[in-house]
Subunit: 199 residues, 2 copies
Amino acid sequence: MPDFAEPLARLILEIKRLPGIGQKSAQRIAFHILRAQREDVERLSAALLDVKDKLGLCAVCNNISDAEVCLYCRDPHRDRHKICVVEEPHNLVPIETTRTFNGLYHVLHGSISPLRGIGPEQLRIKELLNRLHEADVEEIILATNPTVEGEATAVYLARLLKPLGIRVTRIAMGIPVGSDLEYADEVTMSKSLENRREM
Amino acid sequence: MPDFAEPLARLILEIKRLPGIGQKSAQRIAFHILRAQREDVERLSAALLDVKDKLGLCAVCNNISDAEVCLYCRDPHRDRHKICVVEEPHNLVPIETTRTFNGLYHVLHGSISPLRGIGPEQLRIKELLNRLHEADVEEIILATNPTVEGEATAVYLARLLKPLGIRVTRIAMGIPVGSDLEYADEVTMSKSLENRREM
């Protein structure tokens, strides 16, 4: 690798820390920044910090939100009888993209992983149970990832929720096992929602 | 596409403006930023602005530099008898990566393009001619891109420089024509430097 002037070398290093960005992409982006208008770089720089400063978690579902209650939970057109449980806020994206689910969400912020020392008590499960008391929930769709940890979390939640008389379903394993929800295409994700099965 | 909380939507939009970043990559990076430590985001944000504020052009070769004279021009170990002419500062990267060129550079900051209204007078050609008076230059290697514009620029420079009694060479067309220097692998780039031909 050639030597870069210090601020450029530092920027390449910082960009390389981002997911999916290798050395060549980082260089390409850094040289783009170098040529860009200062106000455009200022906008990007401010947007980065604003995401850290202006977003919190929804008081109801723990999704990312710029208000106390997120845009799904405060939307009167969403079906309050269905809750789709996901591991992380970004897992909502492929589900929303299908436009086939009109219920609410619950974000666990993780999955059960004994190897990493993460048990059910570290996930937002208590908050999910509290929601069942408040609203008339008919179905809980478990949309945790099709991985060992996601499956373990789904099984744990099914055992916990079914005795409460709620219908508990699991998204179909149409998505390649071992992968991440994030990479699912719209059709596979739609199929997966459609073929959810009783647990 | 789902709705994102405003600061997140804005960050995704800003990241999508970067070269080679589509919607999915932008989302992935934005969610990564959301989860990252604030100090890490601050470092990235500062690095972006520093590149705009702390870098200028080398007074000798017009390469990017954090000092009046860039690190290549001030390096006493580089061969001052050879100058490699490139279009843009980022074109130095694949050449330096080969570690087979030990001369100096000259950055034109563009190429002759009648379609975009760019003539020789808009490029840093006068500065190149001035360097020939000051130093004992034996060879000028034309490493402009293998595109119509890059080739036109090389032909223009060859006609200008050969009457001055300087050896003018062109990097070999081992690199796929119509592509950009940036994408060349090390071996192809080495071959290309090795097979430079008289003009």
